[in-house]
Point group: C3
Chain length 447, copies 3
C-alpha cells in the first residue's frame, strides 16, 4: 500500500494551493498529526512526512505553522531571479522582458506586514520536549514580492516589508535548509536556539537580512551558500552561539556586514569569499572569543550601480573591514582587497583601516595580505540591465590602480596582549608596541 | 511507457516494508538484475535503478545486499532525533514527550548483534570487474534503535550493538552518501577500498564510530557533515588512504578522536570545526606522511553532561590535542582552544600538550594559535532535558577564564628536522633546538 | 488538480526517450512555453517546470535547447563508471565484466562531432532580458560514449570527440549544476557570462575539460566536486571572472592544469586537494590579480598507468607547480608535495620549481610547506584492472623517498616587490633580494 506520508500541495483535497498554499500546508500538517497519533508504536509512530511543492506560483495568505518533527517540505526549483534589477527597470523595457517574476516551486508571501515571527511565511514553533527535530526545507522558492519601506525613493529598494521566509522560534535540533531560494524578504531565515543546524547550498539574496542565528545555540553549519543582503541588514548574523562553522559561502553585497557575530565563541569562519560595499564586513563584537577567521577573501569597493549608490551602512573607513572587539580570536591567512577613490574615504584624508582590533586581548593576527588600490571616481549611468556588466567590470578593474596607503592593522588604545605578525609593515600597522607583540612583514632589504 | 527503474518500497508486491524492508529491497534488487540482464545492449543495458523509501517506520530484519552498480536508495527525511537524551530521561518525563523515536524515511535496524559486515543493515559487496560503481545512499535514516553494551550502567550509553548502517566491503568507485541520518549504530558508515567516494552533508551522530575508510583507497571526500561519535570510537577514521579531502565538517563530541589517520598520505584536513572532550582530537599515526592540517578550529573541554561524565578515551594530557607520528606533514593556521580546570589534568601538575610531534621528521608546524584557559570544576546536575542548555553554556563560557599554562608544541625526543614557527613562545614550546628549527611567536618587546 | 509542471521523459506522449531524449525534452520545453505564455499573471506566470529522467539509457540525437528560466532537469543517478579503464581492457577480460557502460539516469550523447556549442548535448541560450535565470541540472549522467581523436594509439585515450555536456551560451544568473555525473566528453560544463553560478557536488571525470567559465562573470562557486580532466585540457578553467570561490574540490589527474585562471581577479582557491601528473597544476596568468590561493594540498607525481604514460602537457619542471604571472595575489598556507625520479625531470639536471612567480608585483607568498622526494623510476605493467591498486600504491609510497632538491619558490627576473616568507630556505628560494622581500624558513640553529 502506497505511503500516506507523501503529500503534494496540488493534490490535496482541501483548499487551493495557488490561492493559499499556507492553508493547504496547515491542513496537511493537521492530517499528519491526526494519523500519527502514537509516539511509541512499534518503536516508532511519528516519522513525519514530506510535502512536495511542484513548480508553480503558490500564493501564501496564511502563515504555515510547523510543530512536528521530521517534516520535510520540498520543491523542484529555487527559482531566483533578480527582482532588484526588475524594479529598477522602466515599464518600456519591461514590456520586452521574457519573464518578470521569480519562479520554480514558488511561494508568494502575501501576508500583511508584521514584526518578527508574525511576518514569517513558515513559522516553526513547539514548546516542550523533545526539541523539535529534523525539519527540512529543500529546493523551493520563498518570494516576498515587494519591498515597501518609505525611506528610499523607490520603496522596492528599501529591503523592508516585515516578511520573513523561515522563522524557527523554538529550540530545535538537526534542522536542514538546503537548496532554497529566498528573495525580497526583510528576513530570509531566522533560527532561534539552533543545535546542529545545516544551512547549505541556498541562494538567499536581495533580502534585507539573509541568515540570522538568534537566541543561544551551537554546533551548526552555514556553508556553500550564495548570499547577499541589504544595506541595512546582515548577510550572516549570529548571537550567543558556540561552535559554528561558516565556510564555503560566497557573500556578495550589499549587506551592512557580510558577517556579524555578537557574543559568539569558539566558532570558525573560513574559506569564504566576502564582497562588500562598506566597512565593517566582518565584525566580532560583544565579547566574541576564541573564534578563527582564516583563508577568507575580502574585497571592499564602492557601490557601482546607480539605484543603490545613495545607501550605505553608516560606518566610516576607520572602522575596519574586519572589526574585532573580543578576546583570543585568530585572524590568519586572509586576503583583504580594498579598491576605492580616496575622495570617497570617510573621514576625508585619513588612512582607511583594514583589520581593526578595537578592543580586547589575546587576539592573534598573522599572515594576512592587504592589497589597497585607488579606483576612478563616479558610478555609471548604465541602465539597470547593465547591472551585471557594471558589477563584473568593477570586480575585474584591478592591476592598474595606484597603491592606496592604508592602515593594514590597527590595535586600539585599550587593547593589549595582542599579536600581529606579517600583516603589514611598521608604517602600515598602528599599535602600542609596549603592550602588543608585533613583527612587521619584511620589506625589501636595503642596499 | 513509464520507467520500470523507479521503485518504492511501499508499492512493491513482495513483502511488507514495515515488517522487513530489507527483504523488500533485496527482492527489488533481484528484479533489477532479472530485467537488466545484458551488459551491452545499445551501448547500455544495466543503468541501475532508484528505490525510494517514503517517510515512515520500516523495520529491517534482513540485511540488504547490494551488488549492482548505479543503484540509488533515496528517502525523504534524515530523521535524526537525539536518542541519547531520550534514553537518559525518566519515564515520567518521557510520558510528556511529543515523540520518542527518530523519524523521516526511517530504517529500524533489527538485526541480531554481529561483528563487522554481518551486522550491517546495508552491505555492498561484489567481487570481479569492474569495481562496483556509483551506488548512492541519499536522504534517509538508519537507526540502530538501542545500544546494548554491558560496560556502562545504562547500556544505552555504551555505543555498542554490533550494528553498522552502511558497510561497503568491496573495492568501489564513485559512491555517494549524501543527506543521510545515522543514529545509534556501533558503526555508521564503513567503506573499504574506496575510490572517489563522496560522503557529504550527512548527519551521523550518537554512533560508536561515524565514518571509517578502511582497506586501501584514494581520492575521496568527507565534507559538510555533522558528526559525533562515542568515547570508544572514531568520528572520522581512515587507514592507508591517499589523497582524501576532509573539509567543512562540524565534528562534535564525544569520539575518542575527532579524526584518526593511520598510514594516510598526501591528504588534507582543512576548514573543519572539531570539538572534543578528550586529548587526541586529531591523530596522524603509523607513518602518516605529507598531509595538510590547516585552517581548522579545535576546542577541547570536559564532558559537561552528567550521564557521560564517567567516560573518556584513556589518553592523558601529554598526548596532545593534535598528535603526530609521521613525516613531512603540515600543520598550518589552526586555532586550538583548551578550557579545563587544572584539577582535571592528567597527569596532575603537568602542562597539557596541544600539538605533539611524538615522532617523525620534516613536519612543518606554523602559525597556529593556542588559547588555554581554566574553567570551574564540576558538572551540572541538570536533567537530561537541559543537555542542550548545558552544552551551549560550556561553549560560550569563554573570555573570563584565567589563562592556563600549556605546552603549545612539543617535539618528542626522537623527532628531528621538524620546523616550528610562530606557534608558541620559547617558554611554551618544547623541542630540541639542535635538531629542529624553531622560531618563537614574538612577544611584547621589553622596554 | 495535479501540477502540469512536472514532466517525466518516459511519460511524454511525443517521441521515444530511449531513441532521442533530446527531441523529447525539446518537445516538453515547447509545451511549457505554450502553457506559460503570460509573464505577469497574478504576480507570476512563468514558474518553469521540472523534467525528470529516471534511471535508464536515453540516447540523445537532438541537441536540447533551453531558453526558459527556472527549468530543472533532474535524474536519479549520476551513473559514473570508468570508461577509461574499460576502453583499455582486453575483450577477453571484458567478457567477464558485470557491466560495461555508465548508468544511472543516463543521457548517451549521440551527436555528430562538432565545435563548441554545436556539440553540446544541452545548450542554454537566450538573448534579451532578463538574463536567463535559475536553470538547474541535477543528479543525472551525461555520457559522451567514446573519444575519437586520432593523436593517440587508442582513440579512446584521446579525450577528443567534439562533445560538450552542458553549454550555457548566454549571460545567466543563479544557475545550479549539482550532483551530476559527466564522463567521456571533450568538454564537461562550459558556462559563458555566469553570475552567481553554483557547480557543486558533481562528478566530472574522464572528460577532456571538466569545468570552464568563459566570457566574463562573477560571484560564482565551484565547490565540493570530484574532477579529473585529460592531459590536453583543463580540470577547472576561468577567464575574466571576478569574485569566484573554488573550494572543497578533490581534483585528480590528468588535466593539463588542475586550475587555470586567465585574467581572473579577486577570487579565492582554498581548501582544495589537487593531484596532477604534470607541472603547471595551478596557473594564474594574463593579469590575474588579488586572488587568494590558500590551504590547498598539491601533489605532483608521474603517471603510473601504462595506457597514459605517453602523454603530458608539454610543460617542463621549471614552469612551477604553481605558476603566477599577475599582481597582488596571495599564496598562503599551502602544502606542496612532489615525488619524482630525478631521471624524469625536464630539463635534465635542473632543480624543479614548485612556486613560480614568473612575472608581476605585489604577490605575497607565505607559510607554504614544500616536500620533495624521489621515487623509483618505471611504471607498472599491471593490467588495466589494476589501475586502482597502482594509483593507490603511488599515493601511499611516501616516507621512504630520498629528499629531492628543489626550488621551492622562484621569483622571475622581471618580477619585483613580491614578498616570500617561510616558504623555503635561502638555498631553496631564487629571487632578487634587492627587489623582493624575503624571509627564509628558519633552519636548525648551528651549534
Amino acid at each position: 500500500m502506497a505511503s500516506q506520508n507523501c503529500y503534494d500541495v496540488t493534490q490535496w483535497p482541501v483548499g487551493d494551493p495557488h490561492e493559499d498554499v499556507g492553508a493547504v500546508i496547515n491542513s496537511i500538517i493537521a492530517d499528519i498529526k491526526r494519523r500519527q497519533d502514537d509516539p511509541d508504536r512499534g518503536d516508532g509512530g511519528k516519522p513525519g512526512a514530506v510535502i512536495h511543492i511542484p513548480p508553480g506560483d503558490f500564493r501564501l495568505r496564511t502563515q504555515v505553522v510547523i510543530d512536528i518533527s521530521f517534516l520535510r517540505i520540498t520543491g523542484a526549483g529555487h527559482g531566483f531571479t533578480s527582482s532588484s534589477i526588475r524594479f529598477n527597470t522602466s515599464r518600456e523595457e519591461l514590456a520586452k522582458w521574457h519573464e518578470l517574476w521569480p519562479g520554480g516551486s514558488r511561494v508568494l508571501v502575501d501576508l500583511p506586514p508584521a514584526h518578527g515571527a508574525d511576518g514569517a511565511a513558515f513559522l516553526v514553533a513547539r514548546e516542550g520536549d523533545p526539541r523539535i527535530s529534523s525539519v527540512e526545507f529543500e529546493g523551493f522558492c520563498i518570494d516576498g514580492l515587494h519591498f515597501t519601506g518609505t525611506e528610499a525613493d523607490n520603496p522596492e529598494n528599501s529591503y523592508r516589508n516585515g516578511k520573513t521566509g523561515i522563522h524557527v522560534a523554538s529550540a530545535n535540533d538537526s534542522f536542514r535548509i538546503v537548496g532554497m531560494g529566498l528573495v525580497y524578504l526583510e528576513h530570509g531565515v531566522t533560527v532561534d536556539d539552533a543545535d546542529a543546524l545545516s544551512i547549505d547550498n541556498n541562494f538567499i539574496a536581495e533580502c534585507g537580512n539573509c541568515v540570522e542565528l538568534r537566541g543561544r545555540g551551537q554546533a551548526s553549519r552555514i556553508a556553500n551558500n550564495l548570499i547577499g543582503a541589504g544595506y541595512d541588514g546582515y548577510s550572516i548574523f549570529a548571537e550567543n552561539y558556540g561552535g559554528i562553522l561558516v565556510t564555503g559561502n560566497n557573500v556578495f553585497p550589499r549587506g551592512a556586514s557580510s558577517l556579524y557575530f555578537s557574543g559568539v565563541a569558539r566558532s570558525s569562519v573560513t574559506a569564504n569569499r566576502f564582497h562588500s560595499f562598506y566597512p565593517g564586513m566582518l565584525v566580532l563584537s560583544d565579547g566574541c572569543a576564541e573564534n578563527l577567521v582564516s583563508s577568507n577573501h575580502f574585497f571592499r569597493d564602492r557601490e557601482p550601480w546607480e539605484p543603490m549608490v545613495a545607501f550605505d551602512n553608516g560606518r566610516d573607513d576607520l572602522f575596519g573591514l574586519v572589526h574585532i572587539d573580543g578576546v583570543n580570536n585568530s585572524v590568519i591567512g586572509n586576503h583583504l582587497s580594498l579598491s576605492i577613490d580616496p575622495g570617497h574615504l570617510k573621514p576625508a584624508g585619513e588612512r582607511p583601516v583594514m583589520i581593526h582590533v578595537a578592543g580586547g586581548t589575546g587576539n592573534y593576527i598573522a599572515t594576512n595580505h592587504v592589497v589597497a588600490t585607488t579606483e576612478a571616481a563616479g558610478t555609471t549611468d548604465a541602465p539597470a540591465s547593465a547591472c551585471f556588466a557594471t558589477q563584473v567590470g568593477a570586480l575585474l578593474a584591478s592591476g592598474t590602480g595606484t597603491p592606496l596607503e592604508v592602515t593594514t592593522v590597527r590595535v586600539g588604545e585599550g587593547a593589549a596582549s595582542n599579536t600581529v605578525l606579517d600583516s603589514g609593515t611598521a608604517a602600515q600597522v598602528v599599535l602600542d608596541r609596549s603592550a602588543n607583540a608585533f613583527r612587521p612583514t619584511p620589506g625589501v632589504e636595503a642596499g
